[in-house]
Symmetry: D2
Subunit: 101 residues, 4 copies
């Protein structure tokens, strides 16, 4: 079954308050992997098999180190259901239906 | 200055694995307040003055209790910059520009 | 009823990977307020009335700005039950009892 | 280098607002693995090599499913420094020293 995962990668002590170039390199990891994802203002949401997503999250966590950061705090949030398939679009649609959209 | 905030409201012990109807009622709080927000598959992202957003997050946290839940875990993530204005669209655009979109 | 809340305050772009002096100033806010709290390796856990804790979390979020940071990401996690009182010690004891301790 | 990780496992729709027995089984996974950990009121904090901790977090995430839950939301927060070793005790001591304890 697919799971939905949110990943947020935050480098510390980089001397600049901007982190968008690190985030762009993290998103590139997902582009190269070719999995469905949603870039949001507070993280990136992935959809796929849990093992694959954990491995991608692990690589996203490493991105700022290769760009010179010495400390990274990464938050990974997994949503998994075993009674039905979870997808990014399905989770949003379930809420929007209840809002009458 | 505006801040960007992510809110995720999770009721526990409701007897159903589905939470979309609670999330829809949380989103209705934001619709009624008329502030910019982005519904994602892992939470809802708000934009505005910190005090207003904290008060809206507080009301979103209370929604499942009015719908019968007895336990709620709510995660509020605040991103605030004092050197420039943060917006939902601006944060996404900053990343997309670096991806050459 | 009391709630239990975890607060994690992370300043970005400070030029140093160390954040312990910011965290210490955040903990001082709680010391001065005289509420029960547990300092952990990944955040600080508070116990009290929700309104009071949100107000303290708000002041903790502001600490790094007064110490010169220009960007702060603060995560606030609220655990509230309406069927029984939640305390820091009670939540830990409930798990330890099941571990036979 | 060791990293410090916080794991919080939340089963949804179990029909009971109490989750301590799931948390106790998650902690047992760490007991059996013999790694340093700190049980807190809002999660469990682990210390060790990132690969080992991700694998343990993966097993903790699976615990509620084996106990009958059909949906689980797990939050994993990684703190890694490449300029010095991070430990649970070291991170707490760094803050307490600044508080003059």
């Amino acid at each position: 079954m697919t799971v939905v995962m949110e990943v947020s990668v935050v480098p510390l002590g980089t001397g600049s308050a901007s982190v968008s170039h690190y985030v762009a390199q993290c998103v590139q990891v997902l582009e190269d992997a070719g999995i469905p994802y949603q870039l949001t203002a507070m993280g990136t949401i992935l959809e796929g098999e849990l093992e694959e997503l954990l491995s991608l999250a692990r690589r996203m966590h490493a991105v700022p180190f290769s760009a010179g950061a010495v400390r990274v705090v990464t938050t990974i949030k997994i949503d998994e259901r075993r009674d039905k398939e979870l997808t990014i679009a399905g989770k949003i649609r379930a809420v929007e239906e209840k809002l009458g959209r």
